[in-house]
Symmetry: C2
Subunit: 202 residues, 2 copies
Amino acid sequence: MSGAVGGAAARRGRRPGAPDTRAAILGAARELFAASGYAGTTMRAVAASAGVDAALVHHYFGTKDDLFLAALQVRVDPRTALLPVAEGGVGGAGERLLGVFVDVWDDEESRLPLLALFRGITEPGGQQLVRDGFLRMVLGPVGAALGLDHADRRMALVASQLVGIVVLRYVVLVEPLVSMSGDELVASYAPALQRFLDGPLP
Amino acid sequence: MSGAVGGAAARRGRRPGAPDTRAAILGAARELFAASGYAGTTMRAVAASAGVDAALVHHYFGTKDDLFLAALQVRVDPRTALLPVAEGGVGGAGERLLGVFVDVWDDEESRLPLLALFRGITEPGGQQLVRDGFLRMVLGPVGAALGLDHADRRMALVASQLVGIVVLRYVVLVEPLVSMSGDELVASYAPALQRFLDGPLP
């Protein structure tokens, strides 16, 4: 629906300054999401901060989730990329999750924006973005779709392993992790991840 | 031996400016270790950069390992802290390693300098320090003492999990990891870590 409204507005050429408007909205969104978290940020607040009408935010960016992903400037939409992980059921989900994860991070196009985001974790706002982005939008839906018991706890364990892989393979560049093929990497971590997903908890 | 030399020099009071000299050596050491890595840094180069005689570096800081640890400003000497991990043999080593790790990181005194060091990983020099500090001085000796096959590979897998715990529990503050007791945390990760130490590799 917002797409239709947007299309009409664009055709009428009502806002020739659209690129600036988009940038202003994205800047405001990123700032607010970092400061107040996903839950504490409304589309209305983003609009007010960018000095535009709330309808325009919906018009350009769709839902709040869409705006959040756009503000993070990541190239991969986790809502579609991770569908195959949940669809196959919990058996083998660890291996499938690792497969998607390594594919995304091994691809420079998608890695660079994620790395920029990750570098922000040493600032308080960046921490919020990682919590909301990685835990809430990436892993949370997988845990829910798989119907895990203690999903929050299990996905936090999974997240800690995936983040550790990011740090060693893509940030600190530790061998032999850097030179391992994607398949080797997946095979090395799949049993541990699978145990976090459906193994016994202490 | 360097301790004896140091003691004599200190008693003779030859260098009233000692605190500044120490600080200059530490600053030079930290800079060189970050730029050239542990292997690429000599005691002589540190001395030259600090504008002092190489003997003075040995006098104040002992061995190159001692100087490295002093430059990192960590409060815990991994060479003694980790002795119990290796001494017990590979059985249960994952749990013992986690125990020491969580004890050190849960203690604010030892955590804060480590956190400061960890925050540096987003800069190239910081990456070198983490590789040399964590992999070479902390985990490397444990892998060697346990007599592991493919020790580098196994310790890199272990490191990726430990670093992920640092990020989620101590940097990004993800629940329920933050609220879990040290014992719960150890129990949650011990099987995965133990598998990295002595399980099958792909």
